[in-house]
Amino acid sequence: MIEVRNLHKRFDEIVAINDISASIGEGQVFGLIGTNGAGKSTLLKMLAGILKPDSGEILIDEMSVFENPKVKSELFYISDDQFYFQNDTPDDMKNFYKTMYRKFDSERFYHLIDGLGLDKNRKISTFSKGMKKQLSVALGVAANTKYLLCDETFDGLDPVMRQAVKSIFANDIEQRGLTPIIASHNLRELEDICDHVGLLHKGGILFTRDLEDMKLGLHKIQCVFAEETTIDDLKELEILSTKQIGSIYTITVRGTEEEVMDTMRGVDTIFFEMVPLTLEEIFISETEVKGYDIKKLVL
């Protein structure tokens, strides 16, 4: 369990993190969303014990993380531009991490890089950006830590690899209760992996929410109204947005599924169906309520 309380961090004049409080439960996949400069990397580095908060506290399994090797041995931080020693091969890096992380699983590491198609004896400096990312994920997963802090890890991975990495995460979440905390500026990247998200903006956290909870209260309906029916007949629903293409309406509404279905059944439609909401749409709805334009916050 990670608990962040009233966290503050300044870099000279710039406030990077401003009074953030959040908690991340074990076994969750926590997505940290925000534009560039929102404070995602800073928050992750503080969670990894790299940066010291100016004030506030970070408790991981009820222990402070900064300068605490015991806690840090349960964390693996993958930066957006992971450092590798010059001239080292994946095997050399494995040896280094094995020294640092006692639970490092060499077998698993070899298995992973095999699966990802990486040569363990090739110099990392000759790897592409994506290959380096894959290697960092392999090292991070093989380190067998409880928490995996990923900063823009999916950025630079091709869709196939992205899916591969997601499935590796999914496997470890299921097998040993890994808790990945994934920071990204791209909502679509986290779409099908996160079950809990936090939206960061200008160093502050706008909200953290369980994705399923969010989805439960929001619904997207596609329908074609009968001749005498208009959208105004859906007064009982809290309509958040409406799109019309020809006679087809796409309406986002807030409420329980039953309420929405009952209301839709009560009006004269040629056809209607509930369609799944994208993460982006969920965020649009959530942030609009708070007075923000999501398109200015994230992609």
Binding site: A48, I50, L51, E67, P69, K72, M100, Y101
Partner: protein, 721 residues
């Protein structure tokens, strides 16, 4: 959590990632140790036995030579090894902690489950191993070679002591480098930091001494004060400090401990985000900027003022102030546009620097014009070229080099004038009462001014030292009183402190020869010594103004003779002993002259002119004056014996070991007297052993010479000293 075994695994990992440094250490130390020793051996094998070495064979000499070179190479002053070790220490420090200059690398290391304290220890341990394993290995090889070639087991001792010294020096430089890296955040900052640690405090000492020396009547011994700079900088300490091996080892290790503890504590406090910034701790920025701007602007003024004039000094001051402040701001912010940040601080620094300069330049605190209350003066100590211009004869010792195997002689100048004046106690009330006013009122800058050092010994026990510039020819009465004072003489001339029972030999030198006085009777030698001492003690300023000595005596005491014997026994050159401790015999020293006669030494107050001697007068004025207008003659060759005698009677011999400079000498014309036949004159210019050099006394240049060379009073005055 990290266990001990993990610690060593990390050390191994770190060494693995800095294997290039291991290779550099191996290579550089391979050349600095075994190869260097092989070169000594090769050189020594080609050395022939010196002709004066009669007691030993060539092999023994060569072996001793190899041992001597090996000892020097590994010794406290072995420059090359110290240089290599220093460079390796800096590289090891930088390569170990340079990750702190890179955000990515800092995040990587600080994200690891290891305490910074442990990481710091890992880096230190691996750095030491990377350099010292190769060094010990190479030293063992070098020592083994030396051992085989010299057959001396003491080579091992030399190596072990050398290793200890070099280890302490390595650690000192390494500790400094690590501290600098932890205090800074990028390479520019690190470079400036290393420069600051190495040279800033020595520069401050130098600036202080220069300010005092140039703008004040300052008599503290600049050389001694400058020695402080060897103790305030690790680099200066390693290379220049003159101390014992034990002291060097202990002090170096002590400071290493302080530096590393400070570095470790700061490392724990250092923010990871400091990577990339010039200074890792913002709090250090202002103090460094302030002291740097102050130092640079003062030095700039000093440079302009001394090189040109005050106006250029002010110009240089403004440029120095602006440049130093702006460059530091650019470095701090990595942004050219921020060059005028902290303008107010720059203005305040400029104002403070101005105040410091004005204090020294205008003598705001009255340091120069200070006249102690004569009622509170207990005694005074005085030293000046005006009173005695042969100080090098009496304040110089010849010492034997530390290596007693093949001793050589080196000069040790006892030129600490402050010590001489501190140890002198003239209690004459007339001198005490008139000296402070006289010195302050006559302090001036001019062609004929000479340094005049004084220490006022106050009744309170305090010593007040001052330095004045006094015209050497306008201070007759007071100078006479001082010179004739016995307290002055006793503290100035070591001969007056010598014990007659210590006298074991006497040498003498005339204008042409240096000889040993042949006398085995110690009582007679002592009689001569006592007689001379008595007459020398009674020598007055007035006598010196009237007479010129043509013979000098050197009284050798047991200590002096012992040194000569050591050098002679070992086959060294004892000629250097004939250049010091000679005391003049003036023509009025009649008792001494009479005793000398008993030994067959005739005292000639004049230079003896043989029939075939020639003289040449060389005109040095043509360099300074327009020769055509003055219409001066070419070099003038004199062959007439009477004319030579007349010229010599009006001149002073500068080839003679002792020079009586109470009267001014005209340096415009050089008189060369050749002990050669006429036809050899052309060549004898180069034969210094057969040529004596003279100059006219300023007040007795013959009229015909003045006419011949168109010497006006102005020219004579300008060219006289």
């Amino acid at each position: 959590m990290i266990s001990k075994s993990l610690f060593f695994k990390l050390v191994k990992e770190d060494i693995k990632h800095r294997i290039w440094l291991f290779a550099i250490s191996m290579l550089s130390l391979f050349f600095a140790c075994p190869v260097a020793v092989a070169v000594f051996i090769s050189e020594s094998n080609n050395t022939a036995l010196p002709f004066y070495m009669k007691d030993i064979d060539l092999i023994t000499f060569q072996r001793a030579n190899i041992y001597k070179l090996f000892s020097c190479w590994y010794g406290i002053k072995g420059f090359y090894i110290i240089f290599v070790i220093t460079m390796l220490a800096i590289i090891a420090g930088v390569s170990g902690f340079a990750y702190l200059y890179n955000e990515r690398k800092t995040d990587f290391w600080h994200g690891m489950p290891i305490k910074r304290k442990r990481l710091f220890a890992v880096k230190i341990c691996s750095s030491v191993l990377i350099v010292w394993v190769p060094y010990i290995l190479m030293s063992i090889i070098a020592t083994a070679i030396a051992l085989v070639k010299t057959g001396r087991a003491s080579c091992i001792e030399v190596m072990l002591i050398g290793l200890l010294i070099h280890f302490s020096q390595f650690m000192l430089v390494y500790g400094t480098t690590v501290l600098v890296i932890i205090l800074t955040g990028n390479f520019v900052g690190g470079l400036c930091g290393l420069g600051m640690f190495s040279f800033f405090l020595p520069a401050v000492v130098e600036i202080g001494v220069l300010l005092f020396e140039e703008f004040h009547t300052f008599v503290e011994d600049g050389i001694k004060i400058r020695e402080i700079m060897y103790h305030v900088s690790p680099i200066m300490w390693v290379f220049y400090s003159d101390t014992t091996e034990l002291s060097k080892i202990v002090c170096s290790l002590f400071w290493t401990f302080i530096l590393l503890v400070a570095a470790e504590k700061l490392y724990e406090k250092r923010d990871s985000e400091a990577a990339g910034r010039a200074m890792a701790f913002r709090i250090t920025e202002s103090p460094i900027r302030i002291v740097s701007v102050l130092a640079v602007s003062i030095v700039a003024y000093f440079f302009g003022d001394r090189t040109f004039d005050t106006k250029w000094g002010i110009f240089a001051f403004i440029i120095g102030l602006l440049l130093s402040h702006c460059i530091i701001e650019i470095i701090y912010n990595s942004d050219f546009k921020k060059l005028f940040n902290h303008k107010l601080q720059m203005i305040i620094c400029g104002a403070v620097a101005c105040v410091i300069i004005v204090i020294f330049k205008l003598d705001i605190f009255g340091y120069d014009t200070y006249r102690p209350d004569v009622a509170k003066i207990d005694s005074v100590g005085i030293n000046s070229y005006i009173l005695e211009n042969n100080q090098d004869l009496y304040n110089t010792n010849l010492d034997i080099s530390e290596d007693l195997e093949y001793p050589s002689v080196y000069y040790r100048y006892d030129d600490n004038i402050a010590d001489i004046t501190d140890n002198m106690a003239i209690t004459d009330e007339t001198i005490i009462n008139s000296l402070p006013d006289y010195l302050v009122e006559n302090d001036c800058v001019g062609t004929h001014t000479k340094a005049f050092y004084v220490t006022y010994h106050m009744k309170s026990g305090r010593n007040i030292r001052r330095l004045y510039q006094i015209d050497e020819y306008s201070s007759g009465e007071l100078m006479t009183m001082i010179y004739n004072n016995q307290d002055y003489k006793e503290a100035t001339y070591p001969i007056l402190q010598m014990d007659e029972s210590e006298i074991v030999g006497i040498n003498y030198t005339t204008l042409t020869d240096i000889e040993h006085l042949k006398c085995d009777d110690k009582n007679k030698m002592r009689e001569l010594f006592e007689t001379y001492k008595e007459e020398f003690t009674d020598l007055t300023y007035e006598t010196r103004a009237k007479e010129n000595p043509t013979l000098c005596l050197q009284f050798k005491d047991k200590e002096f003779q012992k040194k000569i014997d050591i050098i002679r026994k070992r086959g060294g050159d004892v000629g250097s002993f004939n250049t010091i401790n000679y005391y003049p015999v003036y023509p009025s020293f009649t008792k001494t002259i009479a005793l000398l006669k008993e030994y067959g030494i005739d005292y000639n107050s004049k230079y003896e002119i043989a029939d075939n001697m020639q003289m040449k007068i060389i005109d040095y004025l043509s360099d300074s004056y327009d020769t055509d207008e003055a219409g001066r003659a070419d070099d003038y060759i004199v062959t007439d014996k009477k004319e030579i005698e007349e010229i010599l009677s009006n001149s002073i011999c500068t080839s003679f070991i002792y020079s009586n400079r109470i009267n001014p000498i005209f340096y415009g014309l050089e008189i060369q007297l050749y002990a050669s036949p006429a036809e050899d004159v052309e060549y004898s210019d180069y034969d210094y052993s057969r040529t004596a050099y003279f100059y006219f006394k300023t007040d007795s240049i013959p009229e015909y010479i003045k006419e011949k060379y168109s010497l006006t009073d102005d020219i004579i005055s300008n060219e006289s000293e």
